[in-house]
């Protein structure tokens, strides 16, 4: 508990914008009993067995300063998205205080809360959540429309917001005509249009591929340098957190285990879990294959066969020797090399690409620990594909990615 409140902020110049004081969220019918058991120091499993309740957020207390990018980081299931939703009360906190500009939002009436969401807070979602029946402009203007701003004014502001994210030319398009990165720009424009002071971003860039993700991070930093807002950013990606975060809160099993600047967290991690992100004694036991798998390989989607020349061209463009073949629902079908594809194309026959699938490549399960898969990755001449429980392709682990992860234990 003591580490939870340890805010190792340096000179802390900016005033406090948002403050959480002993915030709990318990899912289930008997939150009071569950909270009492938490205070008595009982474990999550024990509480679940006794009350049927799940502790989502366990005694979170920290300050967020005006104008900073505050990243909430943790593995999936650590309660970071829940914590974010407590701040605009999309999820009702079970107990504790959440102060925004000194006002306790947990005590606000429904009407005050709606006014707060319209005036001060907006949100960006992982899967964009753009309304499909509206044009890009009307999506961007949504918050203003709901707040009762006249059509002329809200369109003007929405256009300015679209301009700011570089999408002014697409105002009349429909969301389904845009790529993922562009959709999230619209999501960002929608959040900026009402000129909020607080921006809540829930894994906002996680659904984007790595290049676009980096681009969007830069975009966010640029927007932040032009007009400073308080941004609370949930992420499971360490690199992202280090890249954009002024300060980082690390969550584990619903508890905030450490709050600090990236440097502070690296130099004095609060416990082994935090250390494991950077320099655990045995990173390979903490991380699982799914955690470090990256979708940086070329994927070929199989729909009624595969156009081999187009596949080869894409591999050439991305300068890759291998590619992953997946079904339309992302189920993993196999791995091919440029050589095997070319050979298969020459041999012809029905579905030639099937012959190109490398028989020796076996995918690894996302929940295997790194120590279990290390051998496979080391022996394989190619990056090794990772699949989830439903055999959907999650990403691939290359030797260099594995080494980089293991190397964190060294520095």
């Amino acid at each position: 508990m003591d580490t939870a409140n340890q805010t190792t902020g340096g000179d802390a110049p900016a005033p406090v914008k948002i403050a959480l004081r002993n915030v709990f969220k318990v899912f289930g019918d008997r939150p009071d009993v569950a909270i009492r058991m938490v205070r008595e120091g009982r474990g999550k499993e024990e509480i679940h067995a006794a009350t049927g309740c799940t502790v989502g957020v366990n005694d979170a207390s920290f300050d967020i300063h005006a104008g900073e990018i505050f990243v909430i980081m943790g593995l999936s299931g650590s309660g970071k998205s829940t914590l974010l939703r407590l701040i605009n009360r999309l999820i009702e906190p079970s107990s504790g205080e959440i102060l925004v500009d000194g006002q306790d939002i947990t005590k606000m009436s429904r009407r005050e809360l709606i006014a707060l969401r319209r005036r001060d807070m907006s949100m960006v979602f992982q899967s964009f959540a753009l309304l499909p029946n509206r044009s890009v402009l009307d999506n961007a203007a949504f918050g203003l429309e709901v707040a009762g701003v006249s059509e002329g004014e809200r369109h003007e502001k929405a256009r300015a917001a679209l301009q700011a994210v570089g999408l002014a030319a697409y105002a009349e398009s429909r969301p389904d005509q845009l790529s993922g990165g562009m959709k999230q720009r619209v999501g960002l424009a929608r959040a900026l249009a009402s000129e909020p002071t607080v921006l809540l971003m829930d894994e906002a860039f996680s659904a984007l591929d790595p290049l676009i993700r980096a681009e969007m991070q830069d975009e966010l930093l640029r927007l932040q340098s032009e007009h400073s807002r308080t941004i609370i950013f949930v992420s499971h990606d360490l690199d992202e957190a280090m890249r954009i975060g002024d300060r980082i809160a690390i969550m584990q099993h619903g508890k905030v285990v450490q709050v600090g600047t990236p440097d502070e967290i690296v130099s004095s991690p609060a416990n082994d879990y935090v250390r494991s992100f950077f320099r655990n004694v045995d990173v390979s036991q903490v991380f699982r294959a799914g955690d470090i798998a990256r979708e940086s390989q070329v994927t070929l989607i199989e729909r009624r066969g595969l156009a081999i020349p187009a596949a080869l061209e894409r591999m050439r463009q991305h300068d890759r020797d291998v590619a992953i073949v997946v079904g339309r629902d992302k189920t993993y079908h196999g791995m091919v090399t440029a050589d095997s594809l070319a050979k298969a194309a020459r041999s012809g026959g029905e579905d030639p690409y099937r012959k190109a699938l490398l028989s020796e490549v076996e995918p690894i399960a996302a929940d295997e620990t790194l120590s279990d898969v290390m051998g496979k990755v080391a022996e394989s001449p190619h990056p090794v594909p990772v699949v989830d429980a439903e055999r959907r392709y999650v990403g691939a682990i290359s030797k260099s990615a594995l080494l980089r992860t293991l190397d964190r234990s060294g520095n």
Binding site: R85, N88, L90, I114, A115, R117, R118, M121, S122, M123, F125, S127, A129, L131, P132, N133, F142, G143, E145, V146, A147, A169, Y170, E172, S173, R174, Q177, L178, S179, M182, R190, S194, L200
Partner: protein
């Protein structure tokens, strides 16, 4: 078991009699209201000359479905005219429109209420099951007793029989709106009413339209039965065929019902889909889409 009689039938009788004794003014009021609607629609539809109606339906078919269907629509309508059933068909159409309109007016709000409250859903579900599975003829008896003979009891019986799909599919459609859309709506400060009108209903629209389509189809089948209590229309032709064992007349009436069903089904179904695949709409859409997609290509390059 044969000697046992729980008196459920007597109970139903008693309820009907009680209503007749005590609520006649209210029933008359309802009858007048519904009569006004059905008579109005009927007068409007039969007042328009046939060529104008055919032209209007053909244009609608061309706009929503495609030119082939428009040709079919014209041919089918001319066929009905050729069988001498034009008047009757217009009567049936007006009954269907009136019944569907009333069913939507009651059914959509009820479906929304069911989606918002599990209690309402729990209460409404068995009632809907009852409305849907009770043999249609059973409604006709009390409907005729309450409202006399004619188009009004026919409309009411039709509304009862045809309403469940639009209620169910409205409920389902709203419940299935993606939770992230709901979260987005709330996060940007929607009031419950704004959430309903700006997020839930627009996203549930395909489902609601499918419900309306089913309601129209069911009301068409019920309207034929309703002719037994004097609702008129194509049902009369079919009924005459049955009473006189005149296969030819019955078949003509039946054929006209089928044609009307196909026209209504295809046209209303097209409103549930996002974009009609061909026809006038596609011609316009192609042009504007081309303009919209051009910049998308440039940015990806």
């Amino acid at each position: 078991m044969q000697d046992l009689n729980l008196g459920i039938g007597e109970g139903a009788d008693a309820v009907v009699n009680y209503v007749l004794d005590h609520f006649t003014p209210a029933l008359d009021g309802i009858a007048t209201g519904i009569g006004f609607v059905t008579d109005g629609i009927r007068a409007a539809l039969t007042g328009v000359p046939a060529p104008a109606v055919i032209a209007a339906i053909a244009l609608l078919a061309l706009w929503r479905v495609g030119w082939k269907f428009a040709v079919f629509a014209v041919a089918a309508l001319l066929l009905i005219g050729g069988m001498g059933l034009w008047e009757r068909m217009m009567e049936t159409l007006s009954l269907v429109l009136a019944a569907t309109g009333i069913a939507i007016l009651i059914g959509v709000p009820l479906g929304i209420a069911m989606a918002r409250s599990n209690v309402v859903q729990m209460v409404a579900r068995p009632v809907l099951d009852l409305m849907q599975t009770m043999p249609a003829f059973v409604y006709l008896i009390p409907a005729a007793m309450f409202f006399g003979l004619g188009a009004v009891p026919g409309t009411i019986a039709t509304v009862i029989f045809a309403m469940p799909p639009v209620v169910r599919l409205t409920n389902l459609g709203i419940r299935q709106v993606h939770s992230e859309f709901i979260e987005a709506g709330l996060a940007f400060g929607c009031t419950p009413m704004q959430l309903l009108l700006k997020v839930q209903v627009p996203n549930a629209l395909p489902s609601i339209m499918a419900g309306i389509n089913q309601t129209i189809m069911l009301s068409l089948s019920m309207v034929v039965i309703a002719s037994m209590i004097g609702a008129g229309g194509l049902g009369n032709t079919v009924l005459t065929g049955i009473q006189r064992l005149d296969v030819g007349t019955g078949f003509e009436g039946g054929l006209a019902v089928v044609v009307l069903a196909v026209l209504l089904d295809r046209i209303t179904q097209s409103f549930g889909q996002k974009r009609a695949p061909s026809g006038l709409r596609a011609l316009f859409a192609r042009r504007s889409e081309g303009a919209a997609q051009q910049p998308a290509v440039v940015s990806k390059a």
